[in-house]
């Protein structure tokens, strides 16, 4: 039996290596910092024959997603990647992928959006795509990026909904961390070849994403909404089976740390949530019973798992790296409040926006913020 290989690599390379081990067929792409390193790694692997995929360099992100949608409709396993304004430029075609029920998987390397320009991470880009009908994971380590891309293909292809795998620019995309690569045969066992129920096939003529009248349109939209909710058990199953095969676990819909007896719960996503574990330790040393709840799945928002995980009477400190314009604070806090309403009246929710445009979020800074929030 072959054993796993352990290397040191960046989050961007971890993504490219996952795409390779997923045996992806087609990769359309357009460069944008900090995503570009994924494209470059894949272009090199395609050209030197390590990866058997077609790389399509297109003229912009709108076309990248259009090519991804079409390749998926033709039955291919498709991957692309983008960041910030690239993701915003795709917005129209993101709806075409979800409405067309095409299981494209895309990495979005989180970066703040224009205007003004910034190169550094925050989560406005992915959160601004909340209503596009994509399933969204948010990852906090290079290994999780690798693992999640494989799980994302499984879920996407089981339920015919595209999946976005988000992780922070630079802190994850460009930093080296140890990375375990399971043997290819294990990956193949976890992720069988893509066998779509329907595809563009001249032998069996069909048409995709047609014009509809309201009586047809509405049921399609309802089905998409229902199926997005129905993806939660599939996300859990994918995480569990991935663990059974590879031994690796990043959480399923959520990931927790010292949560069981926590009185103060920090809630955040992406790399800041990894750093938050250290803040939790600091707070514990200071006598505050702190714990962490990290939604790994952000869309659909894992309401039941969060409701079940939160200890009695906990104060939840939501640290948002995005703005919920039109409301005070951030989007995660609003999502959380809406699931708790009427279900967990014992919980209080406090919220701060931080780390916008890449402002560094250190363990001591976040521990201090959480202490200050206790007095808010």
């Amino acid at each position: 039996m072959k054993t796993a290989q352990v290397i040191m690599d960046t989050g961007a390379r971890a993504a490219a290596l996952a795409v390779k081990s997923a045996r992806v067929d087609v990769v359309p792409g357009y460069p944008i910092t900090p995503q570009t390193s994924i494209m470059e790694a894949m272009a090199a692997m395609v050209e030197n024959g390590e990866m058997h995929a077609r790389f399509i360099p297109v003229e912009g992100e709108h076309s990248a997603m259009a090519a991804a949608v079409a390749a998926s409709a033709a039955g291919a396993r498709v991957f692309t990647a983008t960041s910030a304004n690239g993701l915003l430029y795709m917005h129209e075609v993101l709806h075409m992928a979800s409405g067309g029920r095409l299981p494209v998987v895309m990495c979005n390397v989180n970066r703040g959006i224009f205007a003004p320009w910034t190169l550094w991470a925050d989560h406005q880009d992915s959160f601004a795509q909340r209503d596009t009908g994509w399933i969204q994971y948010h990852c906090s380590s290079n290994q999780e990026v690798y693992n999640t891309i494989l799980q994302a293909f499984r879920v996407a292809e089981q339920i015919n909904i595209p999946v976005m795998v988000n992780f922070d620019g630079f802190a994850i995309s460009h930093c080296l961390m140890p990375l375990t690569l399971p043997p290819q045969e294990d990956i193949d066992r976890f992720l069988p070849p893509h066998e779509p129920e329907w595809r563009l096939d001249p032998a069996q003529p069909s048409s995709f994403s047609n014009v509809t009248n309201a009586s047809e349109y509405a049921p399609f939209r309802q089905m998409l909404s229902d199926d997005i909710m129905a993806s939660i058990p599939l996300v859990k199953q994918a995480a569990q089976e991935y663990k059974d095969i590879t031994g690796m676990w990043d959480g399923d819909t959520i990931d927790t740390y010292r949560l069981e007896d926590a009185e103060v719960v920090a809630l955040a996503v992406n790399s800041m949530a990894a750093e938050l574990r250290l803040s939790i330790d600091i707070l514990r040393q200071q006598g505050i019973k702190a714990g962490l709840l990290r939604p790994r799945l952000v869309l659909p928002f894992p309401a039941e798992d969060i409701i079940n995980a939160l200890p009695q009477n906990a104060q939840v400190m939501v640290l948002d790296r995005n703005y919920n314009f039109g409301h005070p604070g951030g989007i995660l806090a609003s999502e959380l409040k809406s699931v708790l309403f009427g279900r967990r009246n014992d919980i209080t929710v406090k919220n701060r926006v931080m780390g916008i445009g890449g402002i560094d979020l250190t363990r001591t800074y976040m521990a201090t913020e959480i202490r200050a929030m206790l007095d808010d």
Partner: protein, 246 residues
Amino acid sequence: MKVIARRPESLTEAKFHYCPGCTHGIIHRLIGECLDELNLRENAIGICPVGCAVLAYEYFNCDMLEAAHGRAPAIATAIKRLQPNNTVFTYQGDGDLASIGMGEIVHASLRGEKITVVFVNNAIYGMTGGQMAPTTLLGQVTTTSPYGRNKDFEGYPAKMAELLSQNEGSAYICRTAVNNPANVIKTKKAIKKALQIQQQGLGFTMVEILSTCPTNWGLSPLDALDWVEEKMIPYYPLGEFKVKED
């Protein structure tokens, strides 16, 4: 005492951030000199691209507006139509203009917008680290074409000056280079002529300038100048492609 050389007033005191040997700086200076000589500094409005010249607003001593990637011609259109007495120019790379912004530049030219486009063709996406651009030459190695651009998969390099010269709305279309002193002087003349034709209101004007990217070409600054001469100019011939008479 007679001043024989000085910084154009249309440039600020800021030091350029460009890599050693990059000719973006020369092109900035030429635009500055032309604005000075035509007495347009107080009148000019420039649009910055997304690309290595994203900070051009730090360098031009006139009103500047930062565009989204590829959108400069549409932005220039609106400004020029609202303020027809101002001189409006865009400064765009080949990724910005010929890739994501291809639709916008073609339509600005078709509509005959009375703007001046300074198009810096360095055959690569400089800012994002050397990926293939629509203008990348066949066989040219980039980070997304590590074994050289292959026409079967990546198609052919875009000849923007030739393409836009076909449009009725184009009044002045020229291609120059900045790889030697003679070509630098010709480039300055072309930029000046484009700005003058804009002032006359004859239509859309563009100067495509072959420029270097020693960093992402993996060449020394001097070898990069030779590469323009030996590789780029044979594919991208220099000269005026369209001159609309008054």
